[in-house]
Amino acid sequence: MSARAPLPRWADVALLPVLNVVLAFLIGGLIVLAVGQNPLQAVGVMLYGAFGYGAGVGYTLYYTTDFIFAGLAVALAYHAGMFNIGGEGQAYIGGLGVILVALALNGLHWALMFPLMILFGALFGAFWAYIPGVLQAKRGSHIVITTILFNFIATSVMSYIITRILKPEGVNSDESAPIEAISRIPRLGEFFSYFGRSPANLSVLVAVLALVLCYWLIWHSKFGYAMRALGQNPTAARYAGISGTRMIIITMALCGALAGMVAVNNVGGVQGRLILNFVNGAGFVGIAVAFMGRGHPIGVALSALLFGALYQGGQELAFSMPGITKEMIVTIQALVILFTGAMGDMLRIPLMRLFDRRATAGGQ
């Protein structure tokens, strides 16, 4: 057993996660090297792509928005003791909600359409998370497995709906009819020319709002208290009169609703139509973001920004260094989840030793 003092709080909350992320990137860099590319050059290109010019920043913000929503969808469930791996599917189904209301009321001014899209995106996304939630609460079916399976089912269901139902006559690509320009969420570039033609849109504001609301919900509301009690000690939660069933179902529904916001950003904003596989892995990034951010909205925001930069940088990279693909990003994501989530304590002991040595040195 170790006789060392525990890590100081700042090291525990900030330093350790950062080190874990650095480690993940280091290993990613090694893999890049192994396939014959130059990781340092890659990093340079990525940084430029993410922050070097207005449209680039816009793209970064756009991705960050997606990842904030997806990250919150995982983080919220995490506080209640669950792993919501279904963000991908929930966002996808959320898109159905968005496009249905948008096409039904096509032509409505965006000021009215925007809240409607949010509502329906949330409802549909919530539904897709609600079912696994009920299964877990009432039947004890493991939420990880059910949400993963629901991702697969969502892919099939949406594939059918898009290709057989929503696709207009004479259109070749797998997508729905478009939303009229007046109904789409305006891009930031329409207000600030700095952002150029990048897809960042007013959904960014929704993301920030979501962060604040989640923070309040988790630590300043009775619901959040109940959720955290359930996540940390389900028996004590029962003792405290907290209905585990209710909490699980409501929490999952909220998570699904958050994931549905990804669809608002994408379908209602950028694309203006429902495209096959528009989620494109954002749900999974959300998992990495949530773990990196330790489930805290501030952490989620920062991690989402990091991954947003990574994605946009990755796009830039695809132009200049075609050898490094999107899958590399997925790999780094996985490494981040692994190091911050499962192996979070790997660096703890060496760090503790380091701090110990400094403390004893300082004490003399």
């Binding site: 299964l135 079916s141 493991h142 059910t146 697969f152 790999t331 692994l338 499962a342």
Partner: protein, 324 residues
Amino acid sequence: MMQYYTDLILILDSTVRLAVPLLLACLAGLYSERSGIVDIGLEGKLLGSAFGAATVAAVTGSAWLGLLAGIGVALCFSAVHGLASINLKGDQTISGVALNFLAAGLTTFLGQSWFHRGGMTPQLGNGERFTPITLPFAPQLADVPIIGGLYSELISGHNIITYFAFIAVPLTAFILFKTRFGLRLRAVGENPKALDTAGMSVTRLRYQALVITAILVGIGGTYLSVAQSSGFNNNMSAGRGYIALAALIFAKWRPWPALLVCLLFGFLDALQFRLQGIDFPLIGQVPVQAIQVLPYLLTIILLAGFIGRAVAPKASGQPYTKER
């Protein structure tokens, strides 16, 4: 009448072939779960070993070397999972999920980098795969009514991995319930303290279980790319790792029921191919997506219908710490 019988044999034949990767993954999961380690990462291991096996088989031209590579990849993944769960006492679910993503990303990335075919590995010729083995007298017996068809189509003509998978079931039952190792393995999944206080290493036992898991799932992944198909495709595991887990829970962590459940899934899969393109009286053609969805739906139904009552090994998913 004979037509139906032949049809049945063919479907059963498909069932067997499609059940094999599930069965191997399921048995793999059985060893680790019985020892108290939750392994959500079966999917990633299947995928990773499929890739490893196909790559090495393509490069060396030997299916057996491919098999070794497949097992090797699975061992690496297991090692990381073990490190995270056993030594670092991390969350086993997160570790498994992360490893799944890692497999998905790395396989396509490396595949593209090395072979430039959009993630696929080069096509394997017959000499580089595990091909069907014709059992003695199969062609001669083919025409014998009833038994002949059974023998020559259903029982003979599978590749060696298939036969191994089926042998693995009684082997597992024996190991688990009739050997010292099996006794200790089951004990460590129920009450690791019982072993620790008797002076045995919980860590060592769990690692041993993980090694067996890796070997079995590595063989399963190899089967996917080097026996069932002739190369690796992106995400070719298609959720089988998760279905195997559900099957394991449904089978209550016992080897013979696991066999039955996996055969059931295999049967559904086989049926799926049969149903495509057939015109049903009222519905017309069944959309391909509806058929694709069937195995996942069935798994959900299984999980919802029965699983709430199954009792997992008591220490499942909990890292072991000496505490006082």
